[in-house]
């Protein structure tokens, strides 16, 4: 038996398995999908560690503006990474400081930044859209082949384009032209989650029992925080109802939804104005971005 054994290929295979499980007879198999997310996590860690080595070998001369933008982005996103650490480490009860998958820098300003934007922009109304933003991270692994990943990589997303089968790492980027054609003027597409509004701290609990077998968009349970506006609630429902991505996230235990859970009060316009977009590889080729599976 021959197989192209590399992390990118594994990611591609895994995401295809997740997608095909949606149409399997008998509904989504929770056990199998959970195991697939473990493979995704492992491949991602390996893939990111390889990328970090390549990044460290970059030429020293870089556009000062790009560097400055990246630094600002890193500062803003670092505290989110810290939040993510705490969340992910809940799995094994290990304290976040033992998580060596990414060094995080304490920051007093928690933020949601591009990871949130990318997540939101991936929620386009498409039958084949899936988002596996984060697998179930285990913080207890200390095997030697899991190299520490610098914080730079923690702000990146690995994306599989189902049309071209290209796996790409995107740093602090938008994905959908409707939502993100202009980084400073986010388009509130019909189903783009990030509108010009404050982020709410409400808790979106999607009950997988209700739609676990099939990712048909269904109403989801929701717990409100005390200070939430009713107006936001209605608009949120409309935006989320047409997306089945959160379904899959809940099913697969993705950390992507955890980002929504740990949102802080923030004005998105401030975020958009201060960040720069850095794409390793051009993804948006006109209207080519119709189907994407976003991983991590």
């Amino acid at each position: 038996m021959e197989c192209a054994f590399d992390a990118q290929n594994l990611i591609s295979i895994s995401l295809r398995k997740i997608q095909s499980s949606r149409t399997q007879r008998g509904g989504i198999k929770l056990h199998k999908n959970l195991l697939v997310t473990y493979v995704l996590r492992n491949a991602r860690q390996f893939y990111m560690s390889k990328n970090s080595l390549q990044t460290q070998r970059r030429p020293p001369c870089e556009d000062a503006a790009v560097v400055r933008g990246r630094q600002e982005y890193l500062e803003l996103s670092s505290s989110f990474t810290e939040l993510a650490d705490d969340f992910y480490c809940n799995f094994t009860g290990v304290e976040s400081d033992t998580w060596h998958c990414g060094a995080h820098q304490p920051s007093a300003q928690p933020t949601e930044l591009a990871r949130q934007d990318a997540s939101a922009c991936a929620m386009v109304p498409s039958d084949s859209d899936l988002m596996v933003a984060e697998a179930c991270w285990s913080c207890a692994d200390k095997s030697s082949w899991e190299l520490p990943i610098p914080n730079t990589q923690a702000n990146q997303k690995t994306v599989l384009d189902l049309d071209t089968h290209v796996v790409t790492t995107v740093t602090n980027g938008y994905f959908h032209s409707d939502c993100c054609a202009q980084p400073k003027q986010p388009q509130a597409g019909a189903h783009c989650y990030t509108g010009k509004r404050k982020m709410d701290t409400s808790y979106y609990i999607v009950d997988p029992e209700f739609y676990l077998p099939d990712l048909v968009p269904v109403p989801f349970k929701r717990m409100r925080s005390e200070d939430e506006d009713d107006g936001d609630l209605q608009s949120d429902s409309e935006q989320l109802e047409s997306s089945n991505i959160s379904n899959l996230i809940s099913v697969l235990g993705s950390g992507g939804l955890s980002e929504f859970v740990s949102w802080q009060q923030m004005d998105l316009e401030q975020i958009f104005g201060s960040q720069t977009i850095c794409l390793k590889q051009t993804l948006l080729a006109g209207s080519g971005w119709t189907r994407a599976i976003e991983a991590f």
């Binding site: 594994l10 295979i13 008998g26 509904g27 492992n42 676990l212 077998p213 048909v216 099913v251 235990g253």
Partner: protein, 447 residues
Amino acid sequence: MAGVAGGNDFQWCFSQVKGAIDEDVAEADIISTVEFNYSGDLLATGDKGGRVVIFQHEQESKNRPHLRGEYNVYSTFQSHEPEFDYLKSLEIEEKINKIRWLPQQNAAHFLLSTNDKTIKLWKISERDKRAEGYNLKDEEGRLREPYRITSLRVPVLMPMDLMVEASPRRIFANAHTYHINSISVNSDHETYLSADDLRINLWHLEITDRSFNIVDIKPANMEELTEVITAAECHPHQCNVFVYSSSKGTIRLCDMRAAALCDRHSKFFEEPEDPSSRSFFSEIISSISDVKFSHSGRYMMTRDYLSVKVWDLNMENRPVETYQVHEYLRSKLCSLYENDCIFDKFECCWNGSDSAIMTGSYNNFFRMFDRNTRRDITLEASRESSKPRATLKPRKVSTGGKRKKDEISVDSLDFNKKILHTAWHPKDNVIAVAATNNLYIFQDKIN
């Protein structure tokens, strides 16, 4: 040649094969579970089409005393039908996941069969007499005109051809949100447990409208889910004890006397992972696919993708015995992941005396391990070696270098031919091996 589970003269030979010979296998005919009853006289199989076929052991023939009796079809019935959950837009497969026999208490036989969502209790009874001479209806069963009845008579029981009837006596439904993977009858013969990915319920055999949830590992937030329940079984003698295995390779033993909800285990069995063997697929291959108590109740056996482990219930930190089933597949895990074979759930079973264990593999191979002599043997269930009383020749997979004669290379293995379900007669050396849509029965050669 020395064999397993017997003396030096012990050999396995072919007895019977059930099922179609066609190369094109219908999905519905694929056998999904095999189970002997407590006496071994009955052998039940379930398939993906929701059917149950029961074979009965015929007495030895006087003409051929050197052979044990054969298993012939006793009863066939449709246990489960495909269903559709309209609320969740979910199709519920009719595939029989498990069959478990109840101890026989009268002339009838009872078994539990389950698909992903519903468990059914079936009564299999024989009818060999028929009442004749009814007053109100004639011989064809038509009602008589009342004015034609001028006398009374007592109906007489007349012999008839044996008829085996299967009737559903209880239906245990709507208790599992996730897919049922196990059912296990308790030693009290009154209760049984059913397990799905996240919960285990305790039922009373007489009560269908309620069950007790005794294990619930569903996290408050599903994003925190890290493991699922893969198998569960009641202790063979202690009706308060049961075990369940997880996708993380751990086994939890619970005592129902400790609390109503047994989320806190009494014992936790886990073998530390060898860091040198870590790979992308470590989590998958460590997931336990089956757990079985020994008949003595002192040991339990677990099956993961590459090995079988025997645990002493008194020692939690490591198994007492580990048997490699097909270690040569470790270097092929990537391909097995691609073709989904890595997700295959192999079962395992004990022989009647707990001296040997058996489990399946690929290429229609199955493996037996003698716990006393530490010998192991690989046999094949194939039509080519299906001549009556033909001795099974041990098979060997060449793992590298030169391939010897009669060996098969790893790359030549047929991964579509997998033996996931096997059963060992509770008393005799008779085994049932399910190979896709065929059921092979092998027995020891009585010398």
